[in-house]
């Protein structure tokens, strides 16, 4: 099972609609914070904070090109979060199947 802390960071990052919008934009191509704040109706400062949260969750990475910093999506933690759901779900399916058999005696 994946480290709980990193999974938590991903779920927290995804819990905000603006951050999900940022992710949607980044699926198209890497963009700068300024470009994002032009596309999404929040301040550049707010975008910077959201990018920081996404960065902590490992979902985006800055890359410097010339004088600009573009952010690109690094989607691997999304898969890890999905696998947490799968792993924990499977464990409960197995346990509850066993519980039902146990109670049927």
């Amino acid at each position: 099972m994946k480290d709980d802390r990193s999974v938590d960071a991903v779920f927290f990052a995804l819990s905000d609609p603006t951050r999900r919008e940022v992710i949607r934009r980044l699926t198209e191509r890497p963009v700068t914070a300024t470009e994002l704040s032009a596309q999404i109706p929040v301040s550049r400062q707010a975008i910077a904070k959201h990018l920081a949260v996404l960065g902590e969750a490992g979902l985006v990475e800055p890359e410097r090109s010339g004088r600009e910093v573009r952010f690109r999506l690094t989607p691997r933690p999304l898969g890890e979060a999905a696998s947490w759901i799968d792993d924990v779900g499977e464990v409960w399916d197995r346990r509850l199947g066993a519980l039902r058999r146990h109670l049927r005696g």
Partner: protein, 143 residues
């Protein structure tokens, strides 16, 4: 902001929810989810739980991994909520924990057991009341 809110058309859901209809009354199901000898029959590994608020819970899985935590609320035979986290041997724990809730509802054919495990729970909540306050509507009828 609540990480476990599945607003926005359920885009984000860090909860696992499972329902199972069990051929037993609620008292019997309660015993099965709280007594070590009964838990050993189905949980996998060894579980010890003291089903009272602030009671201790420990699970030793067959693969040797250990989870430890604290019971947040216990209302026999309706509902038990606990928080737990993965631990190394002799270690207070690493990473953030998850919250597990068992809800037992009467059913003509037995008991409907709902298990919800939620991530994004952070460290052990300092207030047990706050942590266990999200009761299902059916169980918070006025007294």
């Amino acid at each position: 902001m609540s990480p476990s809110t599945c607003s926005e058309a359920g885009v984000v859901d860090d909860r696992i929810v499972r329902e199972v209809l069990l051929p037993a009354d609620r008292e019997e199901v309660w015993e099965a989810i709280t007594r070590p000898d009964r838990l050993a029959e189905w949980f996998g590994g060894r579980v010890e739980v003291d089903p009272v608020p602030r009671g201790r819970i420990e699970h030793r899985a067959p693969d040797g991994s250990v989870r430890r935590g604290t019971v947040l609320s216990a209302d026999r035979p309706l509902r038990m909520v606990f928080w737990w986290q993965a631990c190394e041997e002799d270690d207070p724990g690493r990473g953030d924990g998850t919250r597990v809730e068992f809800v037992l509802l009467e059913d003509p054919e037995g008991t409907l057991l709902t298990v919800t495990e939620t991530s994004s729970q952070g460290p052990l909540p300092s207030s047990l009341d706050a942590a266990s306050s999200v009761a299902p509507p059916l169980l918070v009828a006025p007294r």
